[in-house]
Amino acid sequence: MNVTLAVKQYISKMIENSGPGMKVLLMDKETTSIVSVVYTQSEILQKEVYLFERIDSQNRDNMKHLKAICFLRPTKENVENLIQELRRPKYSVYFIYFSNVISKSEIKALAEADEQEVVAEVQEFYGDFIAVNPHLFSLNLSGVARGRSWEPTLLPRTTQGLTSVLLALKKCPMIRYQLSSDMAKRLGESVKQIITKEYELFDFRKTEVPPLLLILDRSDDAITPLLNQWTYQAMVHELLGLNNNRIDLSRVPGISKDLKEVVLSAENDEFYANNLYLNFGEIGTNIKNLMEDFQKKKPKEQQKLESISDMKAFVDNYPQFKKMSGTVSKHVTVVGELSRLVSERHLMEVSELEQELACQNDHSSASQNVRRLLQNPRVSEMDAVRLVMLYALRYERHSSSILPGLMEELNRKGVSEKHCRMVTSMVEYGGKRVRGSDLVNPQDAVAITKQFFKGLKGVENVYTQHAPLLQETLDQLIKGRLKDSHFPYLGPSSLRDRPQDIIVFVIGGATYEEALAIYNLNRTVPGVRIVLGGTTIHNTKSFLEEVTLTAAAGQAERLQRAGGHPNRR
């Protein structure tokens, strides 16, 4: 149940299959991301893969001394490109791997193009997803919904991605979906259909308790992606944007040339791996330690190397120093930029209010605080909008809602029309009307006592009070208390035992806060393994874009329908 490992194994198997000698890896746009997330260039270079090419690139030379490993999605364009490639082969041998199921007719077409017998292997290796963390995958698809239904082209694509995860992990699951979401049901059915169709592929060794696929819809919890984050990975994504484990730092003032884009991969960055899920305060301490450690190792310019032993110590430490210097400069830059943004945008204050909005139930204090912060000129447009959104979602039907007042406040602040409209879109997307479960107030007596105890212990951090709805859902699922009426099974059979292997998929995108929750569940609940996936991994910015897209498409559809009616009459 480790998605990163699954993809890594696929890729190293591909390379292994091709034997010794210089190799080129032929990919398409999407498989390039898939590979680059799990392997660094130097790792893959060590496996004698020296060139990385796009199958659609015209600028490729004849290199008959190279072996080609093709890792491609089975799309029409790729097959067409490959046929052209095989007609006039540029490399000596081709090892072809498709990342998903490919039709017989396409294989036949390829076979007929291979007149020079250069193809040595044609296989399906189901690495059709981006393995972000060992327990987190993404499909990098945005704008999957049009209103309340699937964007037609993306349903098959999502199905492919999800089934490839199942195949890579060798799981043939039972499926549960969120009843309130039609999209979840459609996806579930679509996955089920594939499992039935490709029953030979899904014929894995039966486990005592069958694995479970739980399909959820983002619209059920629109609050989580709107919150500021304080754990390293989530924070980096929220403030700087993680794309396939890469961050673009080019906008950072005074950035040096080689730090414009940095890779944050837990696979080969020890510091990152250790601090991925720690909060900002802890990272601060750790980075200080890292610096100090580094200073100790760093050979100083003015330091006289007087004795031989000084010299020897220097030489001995040098390799470590070199290795460290890269890590240190990277993380110092990233953390430095994070803290600059935090203070520039008053994120501590903003976040505190966000958490209050999300977790507490005191309308008067909340409305006062929102108003006060909106008047603060240093709170950014984006943060102002998200506060209003949170307020709107939280107190949507409150009798004395001050939402209109807040909207005015936004206008006065000079927030663009586009952003103001987003507030409405957001309520439309994730408001009460849509929600299947009670998002904001799961506070029964037990929960209140729990919180009370947490408060007593003093472990509760005011900035990380919020626990995503997903955590609650999974908790119930593991305890066997998740209601069939809200999350029905697809098909007649249902799971009687406590689930062991769970794959959660969030249509409309997961978040790193949820990934953290899953990570903690994995660590604390024995015997349960959970993998989280989403059509994408959201931060607030991307989430707002997704909602805008969804709303716009939905509106267009509605307008069409509305316009269609009079014509019919």
């Binding site: 060139l51 193809v119 399906e124 690495g127 604390t524």
Partner: protein, 781 residues
């Protein structure tokens, strides 16, 4: 290394099982915790022992795991060891995972390809055969009509009336746009769509079949058909000439194709593909050749470097397992490979750079990537290559270690004595145990009961007190598993267990032997203390003699050899006894162990001790380092003397290569070639490399040959002969040289990565060092 062996476990009658630390016998519950504990607590101990034990623990664990699984252990899969103790599993720790699902389409693919290929191959062969027929006569000297007839005989021409339009471009045929026939397939096309196969190409394409046919093979690759083709053609041509009676008048209107053969686009395309394939078949590009050599070097380094690191670690710890000279030799060898890797990859990088036109951008990229990988490789491996201690330092280290071992051994002995006493007591207390093996004497930790696998059955219980060795415990456990498995008639498991048992016993044998050696060393020291003055002097003299013959090897072999053997034998006997679980043998393992002591004592240690003591006397200065040659000579040729100087090796290498007559490339040439890349850094810092280079470049051979041969510089005895008095300052010089060497490696690396600031810093250090070296030299001078 054996002396780091655990203090014997006090036999209180308690059985310890599970993941015990082999050194302190602490129960650590899980394999991972044990490993962690081991790394934390005993990391100072000898690596070798650790490696052995680690593998042992793994073996034992594997065996257990297998057993547990086979017996349908109901532990959930996720319940790996962590989950029991921390409640859950960190995703990073999830157990090994098999490769995900795959599906192979190759059979289906092949089936369809085969059909296609058959068709294609037939087509190609048909064309080639026809082409051969068309070119097998002398076109120059036969008149057009005859040619036409021959051509028509090769393939039936499509009749003109059937084809009103050109099938390729669709233009209508008429008087101006006349029909042309493809001589290879007989089809019709217009002038525009017509292609020609030049005769040279035709000859080339058909050379294969031609060779096969013509026994004479006079003109297989001939580029000039009229001369070369003569003999053969006459034979073939005459055969066809007999058919060539039908020559039409109209054909005379057509141009005569003297040196080319008309064909259609499609045939031409097929022929071109064929030609390309032929060309590629035998062509191996330079980059491939170089690359293969590069990989070879890398493989060698992968093979050699760990060996060297092991040696260097051992030597730096003051052990005597390896010889310093051998390690030095290995270091040189590995460094030579690094130089070679660097040179080869540089060569690859600059391949075709000077050619016009420049190679394709992707070719250059490939070359850059290969070079980059080689750099990474060197960087990773070379920087981990630790330096060796100098001779004197090594002696110090050895002495230090000796002292440590002595201390530990005395402690151990004390403990052992106490333990033995107790054992004897306990032996007395329970005579029943030996007669009635079933009687459970000690409370046993019920660790395995959950498992439902083979339990170490109670009949092994009576051994508990004596088995202070975790290895023996494992052996015992496995033996009892074995018995149970046999009883249950599970033959496959029996086989597996037996295999495990054998491995464990081997391990144990090894340990016992080394234990015996250690104990003997200790006793030897005691003995040596007791020996009177005279004896000692005698000894020293003899050792000295022995050493001058074979340094560092079994000096006292002669007078104790025989005893030695028997004792080892008895030791083995003892082990077997233990393995068979006979109480008698176990009752006195210690006393048995005390014996061998007398024997191989002098194999390694005491001579060295004494030699160190003898260091005060002039002849003891054999530990002298290699560079303590005549100071005058040093002034002139320092860089050459330093055995680890890369240029020294280059010189050697070159020397060798010239000798072998394969002067394939010159490292200095590449140095220049790579200058572009390095130029920046070198310009900025007054690169020491460059200086050295110039020094050596002029006359590498002269230096290499004019100087003392490399072997001599590492031979301590020669140094001793040349100069009797050791000089403290000079001794440090080797260390200095080594450091200089290291720094050069770093500079090299830093430059490759374009880290100019580091280069500067390093060069600063280098200068500093060189200054120190100079000072030292002037002092000695």
């Amino acid at each position: 290394m054996a002396s780091s062996y655990p203090p014997p476990f006090e036999g209180t009658g308690e059985v310890k099982e599970g993941f015990l630390c082999p050194l302190c016998l602490k129960d650590l519950q899980s394999f991972y915790q044990l490993q962690e504990h081991y790394e934390e607590e005993h990391s100072g101990d000898d690596r070798h022992v650790r490696g052995q034990l680690k593998s042992l623990v793994q073996k034992a664990k594997k065996a257990k795991d297998k057993l547990l699984k086979r017996d349908g252990e109901d532990k959930p899969e996720t319940g790996s060891y962590e989950s029991f103790y921390y409640g859950g599993v960190d995703p990073y720790m999830w157990e090994p995972q098999e490769l995900g699902a795959t599906r192979n389409h190759m059979d289906f693919f092949k089936k369809h390809r085969a059909a296609r290929i058959d068709h294609y191959v037939i087509e190609v062969n048909k064309l080639i055969i026809r082409l051969e027929k068309l070119t097998s006569f002398d076109r120059m000297n036969i008149d057009a009509g005859k040619i036409r007839a021959i051509e028509k005989s090769v393939v039936a021409w499509v009749s003109d009336s059937d084809v009103p339009f050109c099938p390729d471009c669709g233009n209508k045929f008429n008087l101006r746009n006349r029909r042309h026939h493809c001589r290879l397939c007989g089809s019709i096309m217009c002038r525009k769509c017509m292609e020609f196969v030049p005769l040279p190409l035709a000859y080339k394409l058909t050379s294969g079949t031609r060779e096969a046919r013509s026994v004479t093979g006079s003109q297989s690759q001939s580029q000039s058909p009229p001369t070369g083709g003569g003999g053969n053609v006459s034979g073939m041509g005459s055969r066809r000439g007999s058919i060539s009676s039908l020559s039409s008048v109209t054909s005379m209107l057509e141009e005569k194709d003297d040196e080319r053969i008309r064909c259609c686009l499609h045939c031409m395309d097929t022929l071109m593909k064929r030609q390309q394939k032929l060309e590629e078949k035998d062509h191996v590009p330079d980059i491939v050749k170089l690359y293969e050599r590069l990989r070879l070097c890398m493989d060698k380094v992968d093979e050699r470097a760990p060996e060297y690191i092991r040696m260097a670690e051992s030597l730096n710890a003051g052990e005597t397992t390896y010889n310093l000279d051998t390690a030095g030799g290995l270091r040189m060898e590995v460094q030579k490979y690094y130089e070679l890797i660097d040179a080869l990859s540089k060569k690859i990088l600059t391949l075709g750079m000077k050619e016009e036109p420049q190679p394709h951008q992707k070719t250059l990229q490939l070359q850059r990537m290969v070079r980059y990988t080689a750099t990474l490789f060197v960087q990773e491996k070379l920087l981990g290559l630790m330096s060796l201690p100098t001779k004197d330092k090594y002696e110090d280290l050895k002495e230090k270690r000796k002292q440590e071992q002595e201390m530990r051994l005395t402690q151990e002995r004390l403990i052992a004595q106490v333990a033995q006493k107790r054992r004897q007591d306990s032996e007395k207390n329970r005579p029943a145990a030996s007669t009635n093996g079933e009687a459970p004497q000690a409370p046993r930790a019920p660790r395995m009961t959950k498992a439902g696998g083979w339990l170490p059955s109670s009949d092994t219980l009576h051994t508990c007190g004596e088995l202070e060795d975790p290895l023996l415990q494992q052996i015992d456990n496995i033996q009892s598993f074995l018995r149970q498995a046999k009883a249950a008639q599970r033959h496959d498991e029996v086989a597996m267990l037996e295999e495990n048992l054998r491995q464990l016993q081997d391990e144990y044998d090894q340990q016992q032997t080394s234990l015996a050696i250690a104990l003997s060393q200790r006793l030897a020291q005691e003995e040596s203390l007791q020996q009177d003055e005279l004896q000692r002097l005698e000894d020293r003299e003899r050792e000295h003699r022995a050493q001058s013959q074979a340094p560092g090897s079994q000096a006292t072999y002669t007078w104790q050899g025989s005893l030695n053997l028997t004792d080892i034998g008895s030791l083995h006997g003892e082990e077997e006894g233990e393995e068979e679980v006979t109480p008698k043998a176990e009752s006195s393992p210690l006393s048995m162990r005390a014996f061998p002591a007398l024997t191989d004592q002098d194999e390694e240690s005491p001579p060295r001790l004494r030699r160190l003591r003898g260091d005060v006397t002039p002849p003891g200065g054999e530990g002298q380092n290699s560079s303590s040659l005549n100071p005058f000579e040093e002034e002139d040729s320092t860089p050459v003397e330093d055995p680890s100087n890369p240029f020294f090796e280059e010189i050697q290498k070159e020397h060798k290569e010239v000798a072998n007559g394969k002067k394939e490339y010159n490292p200095f040439e590449q140095e220049e070639g790579g200058e572009e890349e390095q130029g920046q850094a070198e310009g900025a810092t007054g690169n020491p490399f460059e200086v050295k280079e110039e020094n050596n470049e002029g006359n590498p051979f002269k230096e290499a040959s004019g100087c003392t041969p490399p072997g001599a510089s590492t031979n301590p005895f020669e140094g001793e002969d040349e100069e009797a008095m050791p000089d403290v300052d000079v001794i440090e010089e080797e260390l200095l040289l080594q450091q200089i060497d290291n720094i050069r490696a770093y500079i090299f690396d830093a430059k490759l990565n374009g880290r100019l600031d580091e280069v500067e810093l390093l060069s600063e250090n280098l200068r500093e060092l060189q200054r120190t070296l100079q000072e030292q030299k002037s002092k000695t001078h």
